[in-house]
């Protein structure tokens, strides 16, 4: 049954969420992207595909991930009951693999022989390298020079998994430039190559496809919270760079109008500092990397460099569905600074014995601030979308600790 005015029916056939999304790429890529869309529509209703995907999700990724009642943080903050959706326990340590598993099975169906990906924090790169090793496909990962330095454990993991890392030295030397380079590779090797985009952005159908592969997060949460509390949560929270983990959690609940949702952008050194990655709070609509969405850009339409301590959020854009949900006010968008994220990181380590990635630490930072506004009978689910092993060097440096 289709619900009228449902958020879950989007995008439209041209790939638009309201006025955001679409398909803005080189003509060379258009026939291929249309083919990806056709195949994607096919697999959506293909029982064999679902069966295969579910098999790997269960036996290889380790799904369902647990829903954990964070009792000590709940007690300490003195507000709502706080649950963590523990996607950091997935194989490879983040939510990224949900999407990679889906896309690689699609690539295999399309007969593609070579996989490329971009990565910021390296989590998507590691997840892509992992599924490529699993299925025996060559993997090339584009990564900004700056990110290679600050995420060295992940670089080594990708190499161990047999991926070739190509260092990107142009522009801001981070995620945005890695995506430019991946698109240049794709347009050059269009016939045999599949581009596994890591977030819910890019030309249609990627924003919808990535969201759909991540939606397993929210679908599990619905069942798990009903089992635990016999009711739905009051508030969902997640961090956003491109926004795939947030959509993964939110999408299932978008039409449950009573459920509040907060997504947290990276405020870097502060929204007023000009050095942040908060595309919605500090940007305006534009076109980059295949879609129309909110972007950090100059008055003259040049894309600005983003800043965040978290490489996974260090991107001057955001998935188009978020731009739409922002304008519709269905999701509230807030932000946390580098400093607040580090505090939340340490807080989580100490109180729950979970070393979170810097990305979800942003969401936790905001949750810490707003918890008091919610009464004790309210329920919050926060997506713990990645683990922090990859961040220990960055944290040590910030805290002036020599390892």
């Amino acid at each position: 049954m289709t619900i009228k005015n449902s958020y879950k029916q989007l995008p439209n056939e041209k790939g638009y969420f309201g006025s955001f999304g679409g398909r803005y790429v080189s003509e060379t890529l258009m026939p291929l992207i249309i083919e990806v869309e056709k195949e994607y529509i096919k697999i959506k209703s293909d029982k064999n595909f679902k069966k295969e995907l579910n098999h790997y999700m269960k036996t290889y990724v380790g799904r369902p991930s647990p829903l954990f009642f964070a009792e000590r943080i709940t007690e300490d903050l003195g507000g709502p009951k706080i649950y963590f959706k523990r996607d950091e326990l997935n194989h490879t340590g983040a939510h990224k693999i949900n999407n990679c598993m889906g896309q690689i099975l699609l690539a295999k169906r399309m007969g593609k022989k070579r996989i490329i990906a971009e990565t910021g924090a390296g989590q998507h790169g590691v997840a892509t390298a992992t599924v490529c090793a699993l299925f025996g496909l060559p993997c090339i990962v584009y990564m900004g020079e700056k990110d290679i330095k600050r995420q060295s454990p992940n670089v080594f993991r990708m190499k161990l998994l047999g991926a070739e890392i190509r260092s990107v030295k142009t522009g801001s030397k981070s995620l945005k430039d890695a995506m430019n380079e991946a698109l240049r590779d794709w347009v050059t090797n269009v016939k045999d190559t599949f581009y596994i985009i890591g977030t819910a952005a890019g030309p249609h159908p990627y924003p919808a496809m990535v969201r759909d592969f991540q939606s397993v997060i929210g679908e599990e949460v619905r069942q798990q919270i009903l089992d635990a509390e016999n009711r739905l949560p009051d508030l969902l929270m997640a961090c956003i760079g491109g926004g795939s983990n947030a959509l993964g959690l939110f999408h299932e609940f978008l039409d449950d109008k009573q459920i509040e949702m907060i997504a947290v952008e990276a405020a870097g050194h502060g929204l007023d500092s000009g050095e942040h990655a908060a595309s919605l709070s500090g940007g305006k609509p534009g076109i980059l990397h295949g879609n129309k969405t909110y972007l950090l850009q100059s008055q003259d339409g040049q894309i600005d460099e983003a800043h965040s301590i978290s490489a996974g959020l260090d991107y001057p854009g955001i998935g188009p569905e978020h731009s739409y949900l922002f304008e519709q006010k269905r999701v509230q968008y807030m932000s946390a600074t580098d400093k607040e994220a580090i505090e939340a990181f340490q807080y989580c380590c100490n109180l729950e014995g979970i070393i979170p990635a810097l990305e979800p630490s942003h969401a936790l930072a905001v949750l810490k601030k707003i918890a008091k506004k919610y009464s004790k009978d309210k329920i919050v689910v926060m997506n713990m979308c990645g683990r922090g092993d990859k961040d220990i060097f960055t944290i040590a440096e910030e805290l002036n600790i020599k390892l």
Binding site: E27, R184, G286
Partner: protein, 264 residues
């Protein structure tokens, strides 16, 4: 449709088109380069609007964007360059080439109005295909500006029909799958593709990407209506940043040589 573009293709000889980035290495030199090119009898000039994230370009043109932007070039400066060219030449077709965000950011109406006022004849927007270009197409058409459509080696017959619908001015055939300034096409394949497209349209077909020197021009121009040379000229700029005089002289010699390649 742009009168200047229509007129230049009415003379049935082959056309030589050049690409340089507006404001590279700086506004004055950029204008001087265009003067040199025009004096050497180039038929159509493409001026690149520098963009921070030129996804369809190879390192050479990426770097030219970086140089131009580092010198503070704004979109309005590109219009200034065009006005300056129009002061000494009112016949040569001028095409702006770039990425859609530059246009979207200024506003489509505002942008096309400025194009018409300053004497721009056509637009090539690399990341804007027929599925998304209706607004820009309508506003451009109102002002007799051609929105030049791109055809590539991956374009099949069905897609070709979509592209040809509403195409005007000329067609830009991207000779290779890839980015600017990299590989060159196989001549026999290229010839076959161009001839196939010719059976579906009467519009002139100009080939670009990977055309580097006189030899390429000599080989490709016989079966096309024109060829575009970009990265090779931009490379001369890059290699002579410290000696402007030498830069201009080298561009003079190079474009002259290309032009002679067309006439043979």
């Amino acid at each position: 449709m742009s009168e200047r573009i229509k007129k230049i293709f009415e003379a049935r000889s082959k056309k030589l088109v050049t690409f340089t980035t507006g404001g590279d290495p700086d506004l004055n030199t950029s204008l001087e380069i265009l003067k040199t090119i025009i004096d050497n009898g180039i038929d159509i000039i493409e001026i690149g609007m520098p963009f921070s994230d030129p996804m369809a370009d190879g390192p050479t043109i990426q770097e030219s964007s970086v140089r131009s932007l580092a010198n503070g070039t704004k979109i309005n400066d590109i219009f200034e360059i065009v006005m300056a060219v129009r002061k000494f030449n009112n016949e040569i077709p001028i095409i702006l080439m770039g990425y859609y965000n530059s246009i979207f950011n200024l506003g489509i109406d505002n942008f096309t109005t400025k194009c018409a006022k300053t004497g721009i004849d056509g637009l090539i927007i690399v990341d804007l295909q027929p599925e998304e270009d209706s607004e820009l197409y309508t506003k451009s058409k109102e002002k007799n500006i051609d929105l030049i459509r791109l055809i590539t080696p991956t374009t099949d017959q069905k897609r070709l029909n979509t592209i040809l619908n509403n195409a005007s001015g000329f067609l830009y055939y991207v000779t290779v799958t890839g980015i600017t300034g990299q590989n060159s096409a196989n001549i026999e394949d290229l010839k076959k593709s161009i001839n196939t497209i010719k059976t579906s349209t009467k519009l002139p077909i100009v080939a670009g990407f990977g055309i580097k020197n006189r030899n390429d021009v000599e080989q490709i121009s016989p079966f096309t209506d024109g060829v575009v040379v970009g990265s090779s000229i931009v490379n001369i700029i890059k290699e002579n940043l410290n000696d402007k005089h030498k830069m201009i002289n080298k561009i003079k010699t190079f474009t002259k040589d290309l032009k002679e390649g067309m006439n043979e």
